[in-house]
């Protein structure tokens, strides 16, 4: 079976755009009857992935980030594309585990959380674009 619902969302490469993105994702989840835990996982991975692009990539002024949501049989696929220099977030080293509250480093948990909350992550640099593909399992294709 192919894609049964798809939405393309284009946002400016600014952290403030995450709020509107989150609202659009919520509407997509509602329209497609996605479970709350799937919506949570998607929102978490999107916040981490998009903020990662905004903070780490040198993007041209006025750059935009594309987010595509595709619902197919058994899974929801979320793709994030940007035109920044090639950057593979999956190549980042995992942070050391916290040893004590006093010594705990702040940050670096984004990629760890993404690995836990989506069941498949793939990165490609293709046609001048970074493309991160995240897949989330869905129990059934029916809404």
């Amino acid at each position: 079976m192919g894609v049964t619902a798809a939405e393309r969302i284009d946002i400016p490469a600014e952290l403030s755009a995450l709020v509107a993105l989150g609202e659009q994702v919520e509407r997509f989840a509602e329209a497609n009857g996605l479970p709350g835990s799937t919506l949570f996982a998607v929102q978490l991975c999107l916040e981490e992935a998009v903020s990662n692009v905004i903070r780490h990539a040198v993007l041209p002024a006025g750059a935009r980030i594309g987010v595509t949501l595709e619902r197919a049989a058994g899974e929801l696929v979320v793709s994030i594309t940007d035109a920044g220099p090639p950057f593979d977030p999956l190549a980042a080293a995992a942070p050391a585990p916290h040893e004590s509250l006093e010594s705990a480093a702040i940050g670096g948990q984004g990629i760890v959380l993404m690995r836990r909350f989506c069941h498949d992550m793939r990165y490609q640099h293709v046609g001048g674009l970074n493309r991160l593909r995240l897949a989330f399992p869905l129990e059934s294709a029916s809404a």
Binding site: G22, E47, E48, Q109, L113
Partner: protein
């Protein structure tokens, strides 16, 4: 963010809504003031619907600040999704989570 002084020098802070980048930014100043001025804090997460790494940063920075002044901060009653974020990120290894208010109060007041 709602603040309740619940006796015994213990402050309960309730974080309601999303602790996303916008939510964490919105409470930044009052949160820092509380963490810098109270010594026994229970952070009630029962009304927290979402958290990602920026929200974790808020919680861990707060716990560090309280501990640096000889106090203690613990977390109370996150929902299942929020609890998974706290566990998978290793946050639970450095900040304790309680499901019972009395136990949380005893932990910070002790």
């Amino acid at each position: 963010m709602q603040t309740d002084d619940i006796g015994g020098g213990v402050t309960k802070l309730s974080l309601n809504g999303k602790l996303d980048i916008a939510g964490a930014g919105a409470i930044d100043m009052p949160w820092s003031v509380m963490m810098g001025s109270r010594r026994a804090i229970v952070v009630d997460l029962s009304g927290t619907s979402f958290i990602a790494s920026m929200g974790l940063r808020t919680l861990i920075m707060g716990a560090k600040t309280v501990a640096s002044k000889g106090g203690k901060m613990v977390l109370l009653n996150p929902n299942a999704d929020v609890a998974k974020v706290l566990e998978d990120s290793g946050t639970t290894s450095i900040v304790a989570i309680y499901s019972d208010l009395d136990a949380a109060v005893a932990a910070v007041a002790g």
